[in-house]
């Protein structure tokens, strides 16, 4: 059955009243959420010009924020995140908060304290993570657009698994004020949408300098939708050899076909080597978790969140509240991060990881001297079965092999649907560009989307 939620945002807004649009979204959430577990909180009512779902690690004054953790029961923020303030000003309505891996730590949304999100294309499979709820909500046509967050691919990988567009903007392009911090040197709020145009539209709403986040850039916000119809003639693409050579089977074929679509539009394609890319997951495991171990020290049972009932000293209060409140993956990451920063290991782990990260940044900088955009598949595989990777944390981390580099070097990256495998599971093409090249990425991705039209296919629920 066709609905206004199948249309891109701008077309839907012409088709129905704002009130009907938001109500259609609330109704779709009510109908489909029991199957997918994409939302942790559904608003009783919402009003505005268009609905947008918000990952539940972005704080809101009118809805609770849980970070999908037992350590934050009943927390309602005294302030709105800057992206929420900006979206309110742009007329957005907020129908609910979406499920995630606890504190955004994971690649499948199975580490949520409130149960896994199910993939709308095959409910026995994961939706990806950590922003799996936002991805499933857009893919299942419950909302036209959603916000997620990224520390190592947490928007792009679930976008790939759910067959939609996912953007991680340049580090510093979107304010993180009110995004519950994970790895502050990597974190960035990202966008999910069905189409590239909707994504460009929402980025225009949320981008820009914010005095409340000193890492935001003062650079003027681009007109992101200006070049969407300009094609790729003359654009220089680089296929990352280390990634392309590692591909097999259907993923390889799909990637080669995607590259061909760009070439046929008049783009040039060359191979580019980024030798350090294969170390990205290892670097990420140290850098992100070191930062997480510091950021999560604020959850101590004193000012907000879960407080252990059995504590008889303040030290005991910290240890027990955290021990009871945090889930297994969060503890694992705090442990790895604490280890990497501890006396005697700091230079061998944190120091070395930062040096490899700097080398990777130089590799990317060199690559962008000869090409405009770099290409890889977004993920090394299609959505996996629920439970397939939970027993081995390392296997789960390797799911982010192609997405973590963009976070480590601070560049923008976009996932765009590139078709389906033989099991009808979505596959995805990733584009990475130099810092602040979002406008060019949108142009290239929009061309690809127009040639392929995969966004028009939707899961049967």
């Amino acid at each position: 059955m066709s609905s206004v939620l199948d249309l891109p945002l701008h077309e839907a807004q012409e088709e129905v009243s704002a009130r009907d649009y938001v109500e259609a979204s609330l109704r779709a959430i009510g109908e489909r959420n029991p199957q997918l577990n994409a939302f942790l909180h559904i608003a009783r009512e919402a009003s505005g010009a268009f609905p947008i779902a918000i990952k539940d690690n972005i704080v809101t004054t009118d809805m609770p924020t849980t970070c999908a953790s037992k350590i934050l029961p009943r927390f309602v923020s005294p302030f709105d995140a800057t992206v929420i303030t900006k979206l309110r000003a742009a007329g957005a309505a907020f129908p609910g908060k979406t499920n995630l891996d606890e504190f955004a730590m994971g690649s499948s949304t199975e580490h949520s304290a409130f149960g896994a999100v199910r993939n709308p294309w095959d409910t026995s499979r994961v939706a990806g993570g950590s922003s799996g709820g936002s991805a499933a909500a857009v893919a299942a046509r419950m909302v036209p657009v959603a916000l997620g967050s990224e520390t190592g691919g947490s928007v792009r990988q679930p976008a790939a698994f759910c067959g939609i567009v996912g953007l991680k903007p340049t580090y510093g392009r979107v304010s993180r004020y009110g995004l519950v911090a994970f790895g502050s040197g990597l974190d960035q709020i990202g966008i999910f949408s069905k189409t590239v145009r909707e994504c460009a539209h929402v980025l225009g709403m949320i981008a820009g300098h914010d005095p409340l986040d000193s890492t935001t850039s003062a650079r003027a916000v681009d007109d992101y939708a200006a070049d969407l119809d300009r094609g790729v003639r003359g654009t220089r693409f680089g296929v990352i050899s280390e990634a392309a050579d590692a591909l097999q089977g259907e993923i390889r074929k799909n990637f080669e076909d995607a590259v061909e679509v760009l070439r046929s539009g008049g783009a040039t394609v060359q191979r580019i080597s980024i030798p350090t890319i294969k170390y990205a997951v290892a670097v990420y495991a140290i850098v992100a978790n070191a930062e997480a171990s510091a950021n999560l020290s604020r959850f101590d049972g004193v000012r907000y969140g879960h407080r252990s009932a059995g504590a008889d000293s303040v030290h005991d209060l910290y240890v027990k509240s955290r021990g009871e409140g945090f889930g297994a993956e969060v503890k694992r990451r705090i442990m790895i991060g604490t280890f990497a920063l501890s006396s005697g290991y700091y230079d061998a782990y944190y120091g070395r990881a930062q040096r490899v990260r700097e080398k990777m940044r130089q590799d990317f900088e060199a690559a962008f001297r000869s090409v405009d955009l770099l290409l890889t598949p977004t993920a090394p595989e299609a959505a996996f079965k629920i439970g397939a990777k939970t027993a081995d944390p390392l296997t789960m981390y390797l799911s982010d092999v192609f997405t973590t580099p963009a976070n480590l070097v601070g560049i923008p990256a976009l996932a765009v649907p590139s078709g389906f495998d033989s099991q009808k599971l979505p596959l995805s093409l990733q584009m990475m560009g130099p810092q602040f090249s979002e406008r060019m990425m949108f142009r290239a991705a929009s061309f690809f989307e127009k040639q392929t039209c995969y966004w028009k296919q939707k899961p049967a629920l």
Partner: protein, 93 residues
């Protein structure tokens, strides 16, 4: 890098996390697996990179502005009295 149960206990104390004996043993094994994977970074020649450039945080003027509303803060507090967070005894631990 092999992490022993004793080492995991020391790290858990530093990170203010309580883990029982079985939890520590499992954690030590998982940390060993993850850190052994990370150890591949030793093969990267980073001798040309002597210092990682530190991005400095821009400074701003220290201008007074309203802070959080106490009532809203109280609403999220696990234990609150007379405008303060209450905690178990700190002095004399």
């Amino acid at each position: 890098m092999k992490i022993t149960t004793d080492e995991a206990r020391r790290i858990a104390e530093l990170g203010h996390l309580s883990l029982d004996a079985a939890g520590l043993e499992k954690m030590a094994a998982e940390m060993t697996r993850i850190l052994s994977f990370v150890d591949q970074l030793a093969e990267v020649d980073t001798s040309a990179i002597d210092a990682v450039p530190e991005e400095t945080t821009p400074m701003r003027e220290d201008v007074p502005r309203p802070s959080l509303d106490r009532e809203l803060v109280e609403r999220n507090a696990p234990d609150w009295a007379d405008g303060f967070f209450r905690v178990p005894k700190v002095i004399g631990e």
